[in-house]
């Protein structure tokens, strides 16, 4: 039975595509391109070599912005969770920064880094940094006190305690945070590319509209964004299935 678990979602997607096709074919005034036109659009992008180029450009920016955020936000968040005083001092400021959409930073990003990869990477970094910090901080705070007590009972130094108890104990929660932040990063890259650069999937969408109302290419860009987002999320999810991590997810 489980073997065919992919079947219902596939059928549902197929129904959606068919409905889309019928709706597009019957429109009096063209307001949406049909699936066939979109597919041809993707083919056209591939022939021009733009498909690979734009996908690589977007993924490149997300990778750098996201990894920079991971490398800085996770240690920072763990530190805030571990040291209550630091959290009390810094958390209010973080809470003020948090509701500011990363898109609000676009003008500043361009001012500082000019139009180009750096500005986009900076925006993605900003977009992932705070959510990652918060999830690392909360992960530490949610560690049952019992684990830390048991750890210190066996004579671990604070450093050993961090490596042998804190770090493994937060890992499952951290993975959830990493997954959510990657989703945010992927959404932000599209917006950043509409304004701050001249390549990538976001640029494709805005450029196709501006240069001749090519809505088939606009929707092609959207479909590609969705498909790659799904792949990224599936990759992150597969980490959660590691045997040594499953305890955090199982119903036990």
């Amino acid at each position: 039975m489980k073997k065919f678990s992919w079947l219902p979602p596939t059928i549902f997607v197929a129904i959606l595509v068919v409905a889309w096709h019928i709706a597009a074919a019957r429109q009096a005034v063209p307001i949406i391109p049909g699936p066939w036109a979109v597919l041809q659009g993707i083919g056209e992008l591939a022939r021009k070599g733009l498909l690979v180029k734009y996908v690589v450009a977007s993924v490149f920016r997300v990778t750098w912005g996201y990894l920079l955020a991971v490398a800085t936000a996770i240690p920072f968040g763990l530190f805030l969770g571990w040291r209550r005083r630091a959290e009390m001092a810094l958390n209010p400021a973080l809470q003020v920064l948090r509701p500011i959409s990363p898109l609000a930073w676009i003008p500043i990003a361009i001012l500082w880094f000019g139009v180009g990869d750096l500005a986009a990477i900076f925006l993605i970094f900003l977009a992932s940094f705070l959510p990652l910090t918060m999830s690392a901080m909360n992960a530490v705070r949610n560690i049952p006190a019992i684990y830390l007590q048991a750890g210190s009972n066996f004579g671990l130094s604070e450093r050993q305690l961090m490596w042998k108890v804190l770090y493994p104990a937060v890992l499952p929660q951290l993975l959830v945070g990493l997954r959510l932040a990657l989703g945010i990063a992927w959404m932000v890259v599209v917006a950043a590319e509409m304004i701050a650069v001249n390549s990538g999937l976001g640029f494709l969408i805005i450029d196709s509209r501006n240069a001749g109302n090519r809505y088939d290419l606009v929707v092609a860009g959207m479909v590609l964004i969705g498909a790659i987002g799904l792949l990224l999320d599936t990759g992150m999810r597969s980490l959660e299935r590691l045997r040594s991590l499953r305890w955090g997810y199982g119903t036990d």
Binding site: P144, I146, Y147, Q149, A150, S152, N153, F154, G155, L156, Q160, K164, V165, P168, A169, L171, R243, S244, L245, R246, W247, G248, G250, D252
Partner: protein, 266 residues
């Protein structure tokens, strides 16, 4: 006169040697939202080396708090706990606290958990120690299993094994079998007694189960409800294995039931 004095001195020396734990007027007051809750009221107790002492009291009376103070996780508001003549200042690997099965690390396998406290040993010694305790608590075949793949009873045995593996001279057990079903619980008591008779650690065992206390302990310390005071200390003078239908057992058990103010009738 000289004779009695020397006898008293001899007794004092003997007590000094064999006393493991000495609690001297432990009190603790928790302050919450401006109001003070008195939890422990001048608890004084001596525990001998190798003795199995049960601390018995109603839920919420503060017996776990008492155990946490003796283990060094909490500081008393007044009074002092002494172990081996030293004031307790914090947790110590010579004395391991066993939680109700929730203390095993879910990210480590059975082997990893038992070996957790053995980081100072060489690889061979560590493997040997782990194998020994896996066998002692009957977890052979589950060395590579993670805690979420084990039953409640197995997890509890795992935690006991992890504690014994570091060869502590004392164990604190906080209602360790509380979340197990009654059949598993009986098996676990037997198991604990078997290991205790082999290794003779000093054990402080907190429970709210009168039967459990009388089955296990050399002495049962009966606490009052909050703020906890020692109501009575009952010596259980029955050798192991104990016949739980013997008149002496029933007499001791019913004595405690009465002490707590419960008629032994449902």
């Amino acid at each position: 006169m000289a004779h009695t004095l020397s006898a008293a001195t001899a007794r004092a020396v003997k007590t000094a040697i064999t006393t493991k734990v000495s609690l001297d007027g432990l009190s603790i007051v928790f302050r919450r939202d401006g109001s003070a809750v008195e939890v422990l009221d001048r608890i004084s107790l001596e525990v001998r080396e190798g003795e199995f002492v049960c601390i018995l009291g109603p839920s919420g009376c503060g017996k776990s708090t008492l155990l946490n103070i003796v283990a060094g996780f909490l500081q008393p508001s007044s009074g002092q706990a002494w172990i081996d003549g030293e004031a307790v200042r914090g947790p110590d690997p010579r004395r391991i606290f066993v939680f109700q099965e929730r203390g095993v690390f879910p990210w480590l396998t059975v082997e990893g958990n038992i070996g957790f406290g053995l980081f100072k040993l060489s690889r061979e010694e560590k493997a040997e120690r782990i194998a020994h305790y896996v066998q002692l608590v009957g977890l052979e075949g589950f060395e590579r299993a993670y805690p979420h793949e084990l039953s409640g009873g197995m997890k509890q045995r795992l935690e006991v094994a992890r504690a014994f593996a570091v060869n502590p001279d004392m164990l604190f057990l906080d209602e360790p079998f509380g979340s197990l079903d009654s059949i598993t619980r009986l098996g676990m008591r037997k198991e604990l007694l078997r290991i205790w008779e082999l290794e003779r650690k000093t054990i402080l065992f907190v429970t709210h189960d009168i039967e459990e206390a009388v089955q296990l302990a050399d002495r049962v310390v009966v606490l009052s409800s909050r703020p906890a005071r020692i109501r009575r200390i009952v010596e259980i003078d029955i050798p192991h294995p104990r016949d739980i239908s013997a008149p002496r057992y029933l007499e001791l058990r019913d004595g405690i039931f009465e002490e707590i103010g419960l008629a032994h009738q449902v």
